[in-house]
Every structure is written in C-alpha cells, then in structure tokens.
Amino acid sequence: MDAKAIREQFPILHQEVNGHPLVYLDSSATSQKPQSVIDAVNDYYREDNSNVHRGVHTLGSRATEKYEGARDKVRSFINAKSTAEIIFTRGTTTSINTVAYSYARANLQAGDEIVITPMEHHSNIIPWQQAAKATGAVLKYIPLEADGTIRLEAARETITPNTRVVAVSHVSNVLGTVNPVKELAAIAHEHGAVMLVDGAQGAPHMRVDVEELDCDFYCFSGHKMCGPTGIGVLYGKRDLLEEMEPVEFGGEMIDFVNLYDSTWKELPWKFEGGTPIIAGAIGLGAAIDFLQEVGLDAITEHEKELAAYAMEQVRMIDGIDIYGPEERAALVTFNITDVHPHDLATVLDAEGIAVRAGHHCCQPLMKWLDVTATARASFYLYNTKEDVDRLVDGLVKTKEYFGDVF
C-alpha cells in the first residue's frame, strides 16, 4: 500500500497549520475524507437531490437508487446476508441506543444482566446504564487485565445464564486493544444472551465479517471511515430486528396509518423514520468503495506497521507512559511526566500536529488507568512513518519547552 499516493487524494492534508505542514493524528476522533467522497456528496446535491422512496419522478428514482445502492455496499462491506439487516442511523451512538431502547427494554427484566467492559466509550456505557435503570437489570463489567486486555476466562466468570446482553467494543479507542469479539459472542450465545459489538474503531481499520463474528448487532460510524459525519450503521440479525419495535415514528417508516393505529414498513425501513440521511449514506457508499479499492487487509497491515513504529519511537522518550497492550490498533495513548496532555496538545498544535487530549469519552477507563486525562495519537491509511517522526520531534520539543519554562 502506498500511503503517500493515498495521501494525495485527501485535499485537507495538504495545508499548513501554524506555519507547518499539517500532521493529522486524530483519526480515531474523525477521519479525513478523500476527494471521491467529497465528490459523491457534492454530485448528489448538484444532480440528484430528491426525497427517496417516492420515486414517481426521475430525480426521486435516482436518489432512491443511490441511497439503496449505498445500503448494499454496506451489506457487502460487512458481509451481511441481506440489506434488510442494514439500518442507516446517525452514527454508532444512535445505533447502540436503538438496541438499548428497542431490544433491551422489551427483553430485559429485573435480575437480568447486561455485561460490558470498563474500556467502553461512553456511548456503549450510558445507554446500558439507562436500560438497566428502566428494566431493573444489573449492569456488570468484565474486569480488565493489567495491560488493558480481556481474558476470556474473566468473561466466562462474568457472563452467566442471567445475562441477556453483552456489549463490547471491537477496538478500544484509548488502549488500542483489539477485543476477541468472536469468542465473546460465542460465550454470550452459550448463555442465551445477544452480543452487540461497538465497531466504531473496528470497521474503519479491518475486515469485518458479521457472519464469521456471529455477533447479533454491529454498530459503526461513517465519519471514522472516510465518510461524512451524521451517517452510521446498525447491523442486526434479521430475526432480532423483525421482533424489535421502531424507536422513531413518523414518515417513511409506516405501512398503513389509521386514526388510532398504524403498521410499519418492512425491514430495514421501519427503523428509518423521517427523511433519511441520503447524502450521508451516498458519501458512506463512496467511502466504502475507496477503502475496498485500497483493500482492508492492506490498510490493517499498514496500520500495524505504523503502530509498531510509533510504539518503538515514542517509547524512547524519557518520562513517557504508554497505556494499553503491546499488540494494538494504530493508536498510541500516553502521558509525559509533568506535562498535562492539554499543554502537550497545544504545543504540538503550534508545530502543526493534531493530537487528541482529554478523557476520550472514557471516564471509567481513565479512572481504571488512574489518570484524569491522556494524549492520543491515532493513525489511518494516509499516515506515514514521517508523521510518526514529526510527532516524536514535537514531543521532544514539548519536553524541552516545558523543561525551560519550569
């Protein structure tokens, strides 16, 4: 894979920030967009914009074709059986909330258990806290190993016959841990529980095959995988989705509407109340085309190399603490002794380097790590070893700078 050639396709990366060429190391928060995605959204608005599924006129048909075409691209991207299993949402958060509202509230009762982990993003914690409160179910956590991984034995001890839902991130957005979601799904199923995978940090970076993982729900966001913001996906097994009630009611999702009662459209549309996110879905379709052209395996391989190089280089800096396991996705979360991550991020920004500082929407994990905040550099297919070198230079300068001012 030629990261430099790929880079050329991302217009935003070719700019100076604070007098330095931009080094974008915040793709775990949101990825940048290639020209093809920008064009797809632009072309839709310039040429095809119309509401979908009301296709008497030509534009309506074209918009519908593109929108539903994007759904099929998503289906093939994660190897789902049918487009009935692909629901477009606003993003991972909405996808998880849909399951927590519709599935969990209907199927959980007092004494049932929901099992998650301390490394979850807030969006895979709070919906379950709320569902537990609403149903009387108990929220349980699989304890983490010291290096921030999940031991299957610990999962087996936590997941019991009372467990109804297991919800775990595919990849931790802080630790970079790649979780054994396939094995966890098998344990969940042994006990009759359903398995939801928060794939926000998984789908953009690795080949996802929902058939092989055998998860019941897989949630991800378009904007972290070169697509637009405001579009995401909820994959669910058809029999589960069939049973579930919609969460939003209104236009688009109905079959017949009577004065006092209504019926829903079939899957997947019963979950897509209101005019859908048409441009977003089309942009996501273009992003999938782009990623598949590069090849998901090639992306994973490139990121693995970058992660290993970044770990090796960053580790050489004195007074640096790195969090998470050795084997990891393409991100490095760290702290430098005596320099608060905000200050670090501000100094790096002055060098044109964009990193994230804060709690990364993982306050329980910050408590587990016993820190209030961390800095994180996250990589994607357009990042290069030179970007890692710039980061390391920036970190050395940060240390010097704060050493001087102290």
Binding site: H340, H342, D343, A373, F406
Partner: protein, 144 residues
C-alpha cells in the same frame, strides 16, 4: 505559529502559579464548596470559599488539570481574597471579557498577575481551561 507565540500562552508568571500554586488545599470549618469540571477534557476543580458579611475572607482550591486551569485558579484565589463578593463577580465578568479578546481596565479590576492570562484569548480551545475556576466561584457565591 512558532514557539514565540506559545510564549504568549505560557508566560513565566503562569508557569510560576502552576508550579507553585497559591491557596492550594482545603479550608477548615464552615465554607462554601463548589466542585466543577470541564466535561470536554476532564479537568476538575474544587473551590472552597469562606464568605462573611458579603466578603470573601478566604479561598482555597484543589483539583487536577492543565497549567492554564490550575494557574488561573491560583491567580483567582489570590485576587478575590479579601474582596467583597460583588467585586469578585465584577472581576469574573471582566475576566470573561478579557478571554474574548476585549479590552478591559486591568488596573481598576485589580487583575495583577491575572493579566498574564490575556494570551489565552488567542487559543480558543483553551479559554474554558482559564475560566473554570471563575465559573466555580460564580456558582459558589450565587448559590449562597
């Protein structure tokens, strides 16, 4: 931007307050206690005020955060100690204006060291760090 610009942000006096904070700790006895955090970044502050007859007799803070938030808390407690609550609130308003890059009468407001934080206004992402302690103070005296 070069490191010279950074110096506008991290002036010596700020680093001094960060490294050697004034009024860091807890107050004994009957005090107003306010806990506040910056939910976007995780900075948190506990501010304790002892207010008697409309006057801030004593102030102490504790917490965790970046150099800007902690230095600002240190400077604020130093500045409001011994001041009538009304004056402290005026200072807070003046500080907000300063963070927006507006001209303020630093002398009349009694800003002293606080003036060093003026440079923060050029770093929009960091303004919330600087105002955290002031927001906590406002919340405390208004709740009283």
């Amino acid at each position: 931007m070069s490191f010279n610009n950074l110096d506008t942000l991290y002036r010596q006096v700020i680093m001094d307050h960060y490294k050697t904070p004034r009024n860091r700790g807890t107050l004994e006895g009957n005090t107003l206690t306010v806990d506040m955090n910056n939910p976007t970044c995780g900075d948190r502050i506990q501010l304790q005020l002892q207010v008697t007859d409309g006057k801030v007799e004593d102030a102490k803070f504790d917490g965790e955060g970046c150099s800007i938030s902690m230095a600002s808390a240190s400077m604020m407690t130093q500045a409001i100690k011994g001041k009538p609550v009304e004056e402290a609130l005026e200072m807070s308003e003046g500080f907000s204006h300063m963070m927006l890059g507006e001209e303020v009468d630093e002398e009349a407001l009694g800003f002293d060291d606080i003036v060093a934080l003026q440079g923060v206004s050029k770093f929009p992402a960091r303004i919330k760090c600087a105002t955290l302690a002031w927001k906590a103070m406002e919340k405390g005296v208004k709740e009283e």
